[in-house]
Symmetry: C2
Subunit: 283 residues, 2 copies
Amino acid sequence: MITTSSREPIRVTDPDDPRIAEFCSIRERDLTGRHGQFIAEGTVVLRMLSAAHAAGQGISAVKLLLLENRMAGLTQLLDAFSSDVPVYVASQAVLDRIAGFHLHRGVLALGQRRIVTDLLPHISALPASSLVLVGCGISNHDNMGAIFRNAAGFNADAVLLDETSCDPLYRKALRVSVGSVLTMPYRREGSAEELLGALGDARFEIWALSPAGHVEIGDIRPGRRVALVVGTEGDGLPSAILQSFKSARIAQNPQLDSLNVGTASGIALYHLARSMGRLTEPT
Amino acid sequence: MITTSSREPIRVTDPDDPRIAEFCSIRERDLTGRHGQFIAEGTVVLRMLSAAHAAGQGISAVKLLLLENRMAGLTQLLDAFSSDVPVYVASQAVLDRIAGFHLHRGVLALGQRRIVTDLLPHISALPASSLVLVGCGISNHDNMGAIFRNAAGFNADAVLLDETSCDPLYRKALRVSVGSVLTMPYRREGSAEELLGALGDARFEIWALSPAGHVEIGDIRPGRRVALVVGTEGDGLPSAILQSFKSARIAQNPQLDSLNVGTASGIALYHLARSMGRLTEPT
């Protein structure tokens, strides 16, 4: 039985309709800042947006734009948004002209994240037993998405990004994160030195991940508050960071480039989370 | 000092020049089979192609197409190819019209892989101590590239793919693999059942990786010949495989989707390779 949503969709027939202007040419605009606004794409991310919207922790949905024939299958999900979130629908042809490419998923949302710059209170408020991922200079959106997905998968408490890292709310990073950017607490502000200084003051044990690290990641016996620091692919972490903190490595074939930073974060977080007893295992 | 290559480049001014027809609209053609031919993109992959070409193990370079101003910086690399590999050069405008998009890397090569269907001899010839990654139904090129990059990084002996998996030589998979597809021995043929049957006959210990796996990956004490089996994202491995073989899991937050298969392969391979003593660690 197909039920219809209690929400009346608004039909869009003109790709230049100002009411859906935020969705125009999203592939190009993906690289421009939007003051906390972001584009969520696909059903999975929409579901995470719905959950974050309902939780009222600073993430909200502004408007939705759907392919007309997707309405019926999304009834329950649409009803989870408050009634002041308008739902626009369009034909595939109009939708493709709005987005600027063939949008086969047919599900877009405009969201808004409240911008907060409360790094020090945020760090102080972390639990006594905490696992935090710190990203420095992460410039690739796929890697950013992978980092969030892994942080969520391995029960990290927060992601902290330096100001040179890219915005995790960019459409592609959000999609690769499978929506985790919307549920994982994070901050993006300050320099790496400032972030790590604040974490040190809060008695975090800081481990910089690098192919040149001193301790094999699988051998670390972490304390109660741990920050794992990962850097950009290619250059890796600045030597000032590697010299100032403990460093961990992931043994691999030395003839090859270092691992992808997303994969490396997954391997390291799995180990740390497991060693800290943060992963429940079926018995 | 900039030295010039001993090789005389051939200038292309017409995007429809038949001599470079294989490079036309590569983004669209990425999804079509080419009987073992493939497009390598970027300096890093070109270097791997050069090494594979020199090794004479069935991979060869057919022709190169470069942005004119890249020649000077690539002298050494170009000289590593045999002199019967023509090098075409073009201006940025012509190159972009050939490729069908802005090719800022400016480095393309057409390669050829000898197609071999020798699964059983290949498996028999693996070393007494072997680590093999088996992919079933891997349909996403990014994931395929990540799997090869991890297999190479953690010193696997081979990658075996069932016939439903995508071609690792596709441009994007090759690029994400950082060229590892050109150096890692692999086969793509037969069904998953046939692959695993052959591995079982060759006394491989077979571990299927799944969120529902019975043994935590970090607790496995592997034997001398180990095959790790990973499936497609979303559906995962077919239940017939999970029921027929030992299964391993990676503990994670149960509320979330399973890990990305590329990341999961990295975590599992790191553990297996390390437990098997295949990763040398600095002392």
